[in-house]
């Protein structure tokens, strides 16, 4: 990859990523970019490599080829805990909150960073609890006792505690009731207003098109279509082609 492609004005750049699971060639040259504060959607059927793309960015899976750049600097191959501290937040598909830790302790894992003053910590906690009042009620409860929707809230709140520049959101509305889904929608908007970029992987096409500025559509391990979210409607033939049953 040429270094000339590195653009410090872009928050995240993914260039020609190839990733394998054993012998499976999951990512076959994925390229995308996210500008600071942008909400970018990543659509596609199950198994096309959307989650793997997020995992590759987060360093949870090592690509065999290609690069990931953060603000113009290469972060390919860096360990996940390093990336978290550089400002990438990750909310995985199955939430994966720490079930035996309390809500408070879950949030603490993001708060206990170097250079965060006690006031900052308190402010961040307040923010989390104001956005997610349910979590405030349950702050001393073990994560595993929360409902599915509450766990999703916790997973997002936890990532927010990192004060990330970008949050990688993997299918946040999966398995949630409509009331929860609209809450997620609101959170995405709020985060966007705060200037946090979001790379949103979703199966819920209407929500994605509403919430994002741009969308990528993936199929078989690479990006097939890319446009502004406003340029495309739910019943667009492109959508039908890549996402239809």
């Amino acid at each position: 990859m040429n270094a000339a492609a590195a653009n410090p004005n872009l928050l995240v750049q993914v260039e020609g990523l190839h990733t394998y699971y054993g012998k499976s060639h999951i990512l076959d040259g994925v390229s995308l970019e996210v500008a600071p504060g942008e909400v970018v959607g990543l659509l596609g059927r199950n198994g096309v490599g959307k989650s793997t793309t997020l995992k590759s960015i987060m360093g949870l899976v090592q690509p065999t080829q290609g690069e990931v750049l953060l603000e113009g600097k290469s972060i390919t191959g860096l360990p996940p805990h390093h990336l978290a501290r550089l400002g990438i937040g990750y909310v995985p598909e199955d939430r994966r909150i720490f079930r035996l830790l309390t809500v408070m302790e879950n949030l603490r894992t993001g708060l206990d960073r170097n250079g965060v003053t006690a006031e900052r910590r308190a402010a961040l906690l307040d923010k989390a609890f104001s956005y997610f009042p349910r979590l405030a009620e349950r702050r001393a409860q073990a994560g595993g006792t929360l409902s599915g929707g509450e766990q999703q809230m916790l997973a997002i709140a936890r990532a927010m505690m990192l004060e990330p520049k970008i949050i990688l959101l993997d299918e946040p509305t999966e398995g949630l009731m409509p009331s929860m889904v609209s809450q997620i929608r609101k959170i995405i908007d709020v985060l966007h207003q705060e200037g946090v970029a979001i790379l949103l992987v979703e199966q819920n096409v209407p929500l994605t098109l509403e919430a994002s500025q741009r969308v990528y559509i993936m199929e078989k391990g690479c990006v097939r279509h890319h446009c502004a979210a406003s340029d495309i409607k739910v019943d667009d033939p492109v959508i039908k082609q890549y996402l239809g049953v």
Binding site: M58, L60, P79, P80, H81, A84, R85, Y90, P92, R96, I97, F98, R99, L100, L101, E105, R108, T109, G110, D112, R113, R158, L162
Partner: protein
């Protein structure tokens, strides 16, 4: 029948009960370190007994230089913690992700080196740590040394302190998060490789501290590690693997039985007691004697 009752040495039983509890608490501390390392890092620390032994020897050295038992305890514990951390970085970090059998072998290698180093450095003759407190008190109608009670109290304090640390401190949260979900812990910015080093260092510190605490109770020599690590393993199995509370109960239980047994048989044979307990546990309650319901 009355004869039998007259022959039971009540004095001895009483003393051995307290002795058993004291030794049991030290054993509990050793076993806690072992369980910690195994539970969090999936590493069977074969060298745990040698860390205990080195702690005891370091205690001897510091005591000889400063004359202060408490200083010896603190310094030896710190030094063993550092030793543990260094050993983990050098030999166990490269093995992360490999078959756990590799770590058994690596820690076994470490135990060889430490044991022979101790033999080389300190010689084959046993050492002893002087009792830090000479006073005795009256236990019912017998005289019992205060220092043993103090040692037991210290063991409890260390275990308790560690438990509090695990529950409330930042590093404690990190450890618990890493145990539950290593991947997400990393995604949250927790430097998991360093957590492992820290955990090993803490486990080593617990072994080292136990060594110093045990010092005044028995003789210190380069082979003492094997006995202790074996008993610690037995405690871990009998107490229910990964069950901290169970380990403590098991440690005291086994030590009490051994203490009673040594009234009638030699210490070398009293050791069989713990083996028998292990066999019985494996036969009837393999998930642990002190676990609520067998799984």
């Amino acid at each position: 029948m009355a004869d039998f009752f007259q022959n039971i040495p009540f004095d001895l039983l009483l003393i051995q009960t307290v002795n058993g509890i004291v030794t049991g608490l030290i054993l509990a501390l050793v076993a806690s370190g072992l369980t910690l390392i195994f539970g969090i890092m999936d590493v069977v620390n074969f060298a745990h007994g040698e860390l205990f032994m080195m702690g005891a020897y370091l205690g001897v050295v510091v005591l000889a230089t400063t004359g202060n038992f408490w200083l010896a305890l603190v310094v030896a514990t710190l030094l063993i913690a550092i030793l543990g951390g260094a050993l983990q970085i050098l030999t166990l970090k490269p093995l992360i992700g490999r078959d756990p059998l590799n770590t058994i072998l690596a820690t076994f290698g470490i135990s060889l080196i430490l044991q022979n180093f101790a033999l080389w450095e300190f010689g084959p003759v046993s050492r002893k740590i002087e009792e830090p407190i000479g006073a005795y008190f009256t236990l019912f109608y017998l005289q019992y040394p205060w220092y043993r009670i103090v040692i037991a109290a210290l063991a409890v304090a260390i275990i308790g302190g560690f438990w509090l640390f695990l529950k409330y401190s930042k590093f404690g949260v990190w450890i618990r998060a890493t145990t539950q979900d290593r991947v997400m812990a990393q995604a949250m910015g927790i430097p998991v490789p360093w957590v492992y080093t820290g955990v090993f260092a803490i486990g080593a510190a617990m072994a080292g501290a136990s060594g110093v605490l045990f010092g005044p109770l028995g003789s210190i020599n380069h082979t003492m590690g094997l006995d202790w690590v074996l008993k610690a393993f037995i405690v871990v199995v009998v107490g229910g693997m990964g069950n901290l509370g169970g380990s403590i109960a098991a440690a005291i239980f086994i030590s009490l039985l051994e203490a009673y047994a040594s009234i009638w048989v030699s210490p070398a044979q009293a050791v069989i007691v713990s083996f028998v307990v292990l066999i019985l546990t494996l036969l009837f309650r393999p998930t642990g004697l002190f676990v609520a319901t067998p799984k």
